[in-house]
């Protein structure tokens, strides 16, 4: 069943997901939503890896996906921690309100 879907469909889907994620990072102003967009980009990459891995019949891509998942989780943890820290100074999640640095 799954092998019947051409590789290009997967690549197209992941490209669309990646673009939506990248667009979200650039457009949205809520730090948590930006974080979610970055996660979306990472998962688009995971899809590409898995699609290529199945197409090339090589396991490397799948191993890479493991690593990406772990790193993505760690990034979420650290990102949320930084946001919580910042929240103690200022009740906001909107990145436009974090503007103490200018020069």
């Amino acid at each position: 069943m799954i092998g019947a879907v051409p590789l290009s469909y997967y690549l197209l889907l992941s490209a669309i997901l990646f673009t939506i994620g990248a667009g979200g990072v650039l457009i949205r102003r809520n730090a948590i939503i930006i974080l979610m967009c970055v996660e979306m980009m990472m998962n688009a990459v995971n899809l590409t890896f898995v699609a290529f891995s199945s197409y090339l019949d090589s396991a490397t891509g799948q191993i890479f996906v493991f690593m990406v998942m772990v790193v993505a989780a760690v990034e979420v943890a650290v990102g949320l921690a930084l946001l919580v820290e910042l929240n103690r100074h200022k009740e906001a999640v909107n990145i436009d309100e974090f503007n103490s640095l200018k020069g």
Partner: protein, 120 residues
């Protein structure tokens, strides 16, 4: 082949029809004569009376717990593949995973000691 997806399409069609029927039926006066009263229009939440707004803010400390959960949740990712080939890897795998677990335990002890587990 696209023909492989006919069952999916059928399934989607059935789902759509059923949901339209289920949502639409109560709006036909013949089947459902509307006689509203106070108790009837209240929100049902397992016998408890509803209070406050649905869009409540979650305390920010919750994130700390969520964070710690993520870390220990994702570590299992590495244990599963090991479990699959546990017998083939023998002591080699056990040694490698011991080092991995040791590092995790040190991190765990550190966060415990630093008071990350304390909920105030």
């Amino acid at each position: 082949m696209p023909t492989d997806y006919i069952p999916v399409l059928l399934f989607l069609g059935v789902t759509f029809t059923l949901s339209v029927v289920a949502v639409g039926l109560p709006h036909i006066p013949f089947i459902n004569p509307l006689r509203p009263n106070k108790a009837k229009s209240e929100v049902v939440e397992s016998g408890k009376l509803a209070y406050g707004d649905a869009k409540r803010k979650i305390p920010i400390q919750y994130y700390t717990t969520a964070m710690l959960f993520i870390l220990f949740d994702i570590e299992v990712l590495f244990f599963y593949p090991w479990a699959v080939v546990f017998w083939e890897l023998r002591w080699y795998g056990i040694m490698a995973m011991s080092v991995f677990t040791l590092l995790l335990v040190i991190g765990f002890a550190y966060e415990w000691r630093k008071g990350a587990m304390e909920w105030d």
